[in-house]
Symmetry: C2
Subunit: 278 residues, 2 copies
């Protein structure tokens, strides 16, 4: 390390399973601090006392190297693994350590200490329906396969490249929602009518809107300098799409500054969609 480099503190997301919950938990907390001074990594599948000991040795090593005590966000059910880590020369912040006492007292019962329910296949039927929902989203992307719309819970509509696909796939993967999407084109803009395939499913429709400059930028990445990406063209399509939403009372969302996760949450709230599983 050169003198000009400030040492970074090592942050670990550790778990006896995938580490996804530990990452989510830790990274949400760390948004409240200056992350440029932190170096984050994930340590999954630390599920025996032996693995805990060797992992701890590694973590402590990084601490000695930087001179800064490492912080470990953990979601580890095993008491044995937690005991090893708690004794280390680290800041050990475990989800179960923090919350289980309050939760046991609120529910007036002891926890089961079962390992490995979160982010695994806890229930095969629910898991299968999630995969099925993902296949549905992939098979009903961009207006293909119009027959399946009876099974759809929501059908996103918007001009090309406004961001329908990622949101559909996210809703399917995360929540098991059956989501299709359909691109709005000149056909609809000329007629002012909803696409014929969508008319029987008007109550399932949800529109997306985006800032024309942003859509110009996105389309230019695909076809630079094309008519398709030109500002007048994207402005026209977005204006027409918005008129269509209003005319047919299709609820819609502005997507420009929203992430996939925020849009999915918003759509599910607006359309009153129930997730299959937590």
């Amino acid at each position: 390390m050169t003198e000009s480099e400030k040492p970074q503190r090592a942050i670990f997301f550790l778990s006896d399973r995938t580490g996804i919950t530990a990452e989510t938990l830790g990274s949400t907390l760390l948004t409240q601090f200056d992350e440029s001074e932190l170096r984050q990594s994930t340590l999954p599948f630390v599920n025996t006392a032996d693995k805990a000991r060797s992992t701890l040795a590694y973590i402590e090593h990084t601490g000695r190297a930087s001179g800064l005590t490492p912080i470990v966000f953990s979601t580890t059910v095993s008491d044995e693994v937690r005991a090893v880590l708690r004794a280390g020369n680290i800041v050990f912040l475990d989800l179960f350590d923090m919350f289980l006492p309050s939760l046991e007292s609120a529910l007036d019962t002891k926890s089961t200490h079962r390992v490995g329910q979160a982010h695994g296949i806890a229930n095969q039927d629910i898991y299968d329906s999630r995969i099925d929902a993902m296949n549905f989203a992939l098979n009903h992307d961009d207006g293909v396969n119009e027959q399946g719309y009876e099974r759809a819970e929501v059908i996103l509509v918007a001009p090309s490249r406004v961001g329908k696909t990622p949101v559909c796939i996210y809703m399917a993967m995360q929540y098991g929602i059956y989501a299709a999407n359909y691109p709005l084109t000149e056909d609809e803009f000329d007629s002012g009518q909803l696409p014929r395939a969508l008319k029987p499913h008007r109550d399932k429709l949800y529109g997306l809107y985006i800032d024309p400059k942003r859509l110009h930028h996105i389309r230019s990445e695909r076809r630079k300098g094309s008519q398709y990406a030109a500002i007048p063209q994207v402005s026209y399509e977005l204006r027409q799409a918005e008129q269509l939403y209003k005319k047919h009372r299709v609820p819609y969302a502005e997507t420009t500054h929203k992430s996939i996760e925020e849009l999915a949450t918003l759509i599910m709230q607006d359309k009153n969609l129930r997730r299959r599983s937590f």
Copy 2:
């Protein structure tokens, strides 16, 4: 409610943003209890004191209806919103309440109280590369578009329907990993060779294996009674695929009892892939 029905305790995942962190946190903790006695729902975008008050009134109402104090898992940055909820007749378990004091002391600094970094677009470049990775996964699914393999960080191989696509999309969406996939077919089994398009990228390959009965079941959902789904056929393909993995030293994973999340974590660990963002 009839006398035979046991009242369920209401559990809420509440947040000033999407509620995704609160859901992850709460549902991980609840795996340690009997969830059949709980009724879970999410309350996103509770981001003003006014909304907190009306939301609290609703939560308290569900508590009176069931006679069981509701439990609220919260990830709310706003002190004002937290103060409203903390005063309610509920069990209020907030991530920041629980962890910030330890974390501030470990980092020897105060938290910024910035709202809304997690699951939003905190950094447009990182967000865009995540979307780009998703488009890559969709455009390099099932062996189409072989030109892009230089950009791939991992290429999953397996016979049809073993589960390559959902894992690729998950790695892209969650971690910004560029993941392609390629179906193994009779061509490879007959020759014992890797597909020509994959040979220059052997170090990126990762194989998937599944129990033949499970693959029979999955394929039967698509084409019931077909040769494609028959036990001898799926057994043959899986045996050949496994031989190919071994012969060409392609690392591979057994997927039968693993979720998408577990497989993604395992593959990233085995291939030493670094996620783009936390």
